[in-house]
């Protein structure tokens, strides 16, 4: 590393380009995993009513009939709604205690049991400074007081930062909708989904209902992320397009100086291949250094600074949610890709000119 300034400039360019890339990949991978895990933990079929092409509440009177369908092992009615606690929107899930997702576990206090009791996601609770034993009310129904009995954490950090759980009945009271659920989660025996679907058709006949299976939900999720990733990618590409010439120019920095150096090396007995080996080795080190620093920076950015400025590309509610652990997953592949990418760029910026300088008669290269 004889050319310190040049090395530093090239490294900085590489870092500037790669850091957002690595951070973004890690975040989107983390979110994808979390949402897939959430979908995986959910029911096999989701049943709702349909109005104007949107999901709407489904009457509870169908619950027993659905339960009786052959192949159905469990049906869980839920109410999922949103409401303001103080100044933040929280997602309220009304579900009976025994039906809570398995990944949800109390980290302090206990689960809700009686009317008016809730458990709050740990990050949400931290935001509102709620402790087990505290009471609060929702803006939509100020008269009703809720008792916090516990705080929960879940596999998905978005859950613990935005959800609160209460009994189905409390949720029905809170939203003032009796006799309906926002959806039924249907668990089924493997391979029975199409039969269940035709039985559902038999039950609902003329009602506007809608069934979505896990795969569709998964697809829907994926599509959402791909869209967000797409927006990010577009912005990133612009930055990238500016960064590539920067790297090329920077790798070409001091070209005349290097040309002279190569001439001297050739004049004192170096072989062309040895010269190119040395130059390639330097580029390898620079790329490795740049990519590694970029990786460390992106880890710091995502893990310690929670992806400020970049998270909103991937988590639509990032601005609305209280601070929460941004999900992220750093995989080796993106890192190796970045490394090879920077290697490619720095090589392109230097190998050809070095080869030219190296195959000319030394006198011609040595002249400044």
């Amino acid at each position: 590393m004889r050319h310190r300034t040049k090395t530093a400039v090239v490294c900085l360019c590489i870092i500037a380009i790669l850091t957002p890339f690595l951070a973004a990949i890690a975040i989107s991978e983390g979110i994808r995993r979390q949402s897939m895990a959430s979908v995986e933990a959910g029911g096999d079929l989701y049943l709702t009513f349909d109005e104007f092409g949107r999901n709407t509440a489904i009457p509870l009177k169908y619950l027993d009939e659905v339960k009786k369908i052959y192949g159905v092992t469990k049906v869980i009615p839920r109410i999922i709604g949103r409401g303001y606690v103080q100044n933040k929107l929280a997602v309220i899930v009304g579900i009976d205690k025994e039906n809570l997702p398995k990944s949800v576990s109390c980290v302090s206090g206990r689960m809700f049991e009686q009317a008016g009791e809730v458990v709050v996601g740990i990050d949400l609770a931290r935001h509102f400074k709620l402790q087990p034993g505290d009471q609060f009310s929702m803006r939509c129904q100020q008269r009703k007081l809720f008792n916090v009995t516990g705080l929960f954490s879940a596999d998905a950090s978005i859950w613990s930062s935005s959800l609160l759980f209460m009994s189905f009945k409390d949720a029905a009271d809170l939203f003032g909708k009796q006799g309906v659920a926002t959806d039924f989660q249907i668990y089924s025996l493997p391979g029975h989904n199409s039969e269940i679907a035709s039985d559902l058709y038999g039950i609902f006949q003329n009602e506007p209902y809608r069934v979505q299976d896990k795969l569709m939900v998964e697809l829907y999720f994926k599509k959402g992320f791909m869209l967000k990733e797409g927006i990010f990618s577009a912005l990133y590409l612009v930055a990238f397009a500016l960064g590539i010439p920067a790297i090329l120019v920077a790798s070409g920095f001091g070209l005349s100086e290097r040309k002279r150096e190569i001439g001297i090396m050739k004049a004192t007995g170096w072989h062309t291949l040895e010269v190119l080996e040395l130059i390639s080795f330097e580029q390898l080190l620079i790329s490795l250094l740049g990519a590694t620093i970029a990786l460390l920076l992106s880890i710091t950015w995502v893990k310690y600074f929670n992806g400020v400025c970049i998270a909103q590309f991937f988590v639509a509610e990032a601005g609305m949610l209280p601070a929460f652990m941004l999900p992220s997953q750093f995989l080796p592949l993106p890192f190796f890709l970045s490394f090879f990418f920077s290697l490619l760029l720095t090589m392109v910026g230097s190998i050809y000119s070095s080869w030219r300088a190296s195959t000319e008669p030394p006198v011609a290269s040595m002249k400044l």
């Binding site: 004889r2 001297i264 004049a267 004192t268 007995g269 170096w270 195959t359 008669p361 006198v363 040595m366």
Partner: protein
């Protein structure tokens, strides 16, 4: 052992008029001799020595070293020849700016896979011999012209070459150091090397076996 036949080098300047730096030089230099090229500035001494030292290609003519026509050598063969047989002391020193004296001197040894420790020792011995034992870690810009010249001389000797080509080796040094360099070159000759020197310095005629006078690119 060094022969040139009809060596010419011409440059086409911006005015598209041809400058002949070397014209039809035919000479032969026997092994283990001390040869001096003298002549006015611009007479083609540097150009001729560069071509003989395989650093430049002639426009016409041929150079033979040890009976091989090096004008026909490939890039690899030329590098090999320079590595094993030739030590070049440049008029403009041509040291690598970011390297210290000892690194510059031992740089030709890097591709040979010699350990840094051994390279350092080799360079140190040579630099001490050049009176620069206390300047090992200095970079060229921290050295005076004469000191740089001596570093360049040490580098030319690092591969123990059989042919030493010195272009104005004493142009930047005082009388005393000049004398030192002359006696060093003489000593190398006595140890079996062939020495080619281009110089304005008349004192080189004493140790010289042959003096070629150059004028307008020709040996006269």
């Amino acid at each position: 052992m060094i022969k040139t036949e009809g060596l010419c080098k011409w440059y086409r300047g911006h005015s598209s008029h041809k400058v002949s730096a070397v014209q039809d030089v035919t000479l032969s230099i026997v092994k283990n001799s001390f040869v001096v090229f003298k002549g006015p500035s611009g007479s083609g001494k540097t150009t001729l020595l560069n071509i003989i030292g395989t650093l430049d290609r002639p426009s016409a003519g041929e150079v033979f070293i040890n009976g091989n026509n090096v004008t026909r050598f490939s890039d690899i063969a030329l590098s090999g020849l320079r590595r094993e047989k030739i030590g070049f002391i440049f008029q403009d020193f041509y040291l690598i700016p970011n390297l210290s004296s000892w690194e510059n001197v031992s740089y030709p040894l890097v591709p040979l896979g010699i350990s840094a420790r051994n390279r350092y020792e080799t360079a140190k011995t040579l630099l001490e011999k050049m009176g620069l034992g206390d300047r090992l870690a200095h970079t060229p810009e921290e050295l005076s012209g004469g000191q740089q010249q001596r570093v360049a001389i040490a580098r030319a000797l690092v591969n123990r070459p059989g042919i030493i080509i010195a272009d104005e080796p004493t142009s930047n040094v005082d009388e005393e150091t000049g004398e030192h360099i002359r006696s060093l070159l003489k000593e190398l000759k006595d140890n079996g090397a062939t020495i080619l020197v281009a110089t304005h310095d008349a004192s080189f005629e004493k140790p010289a076996d042959v003096v070629f006078k150059m004028k307008n690119g020709m040996i006269g």
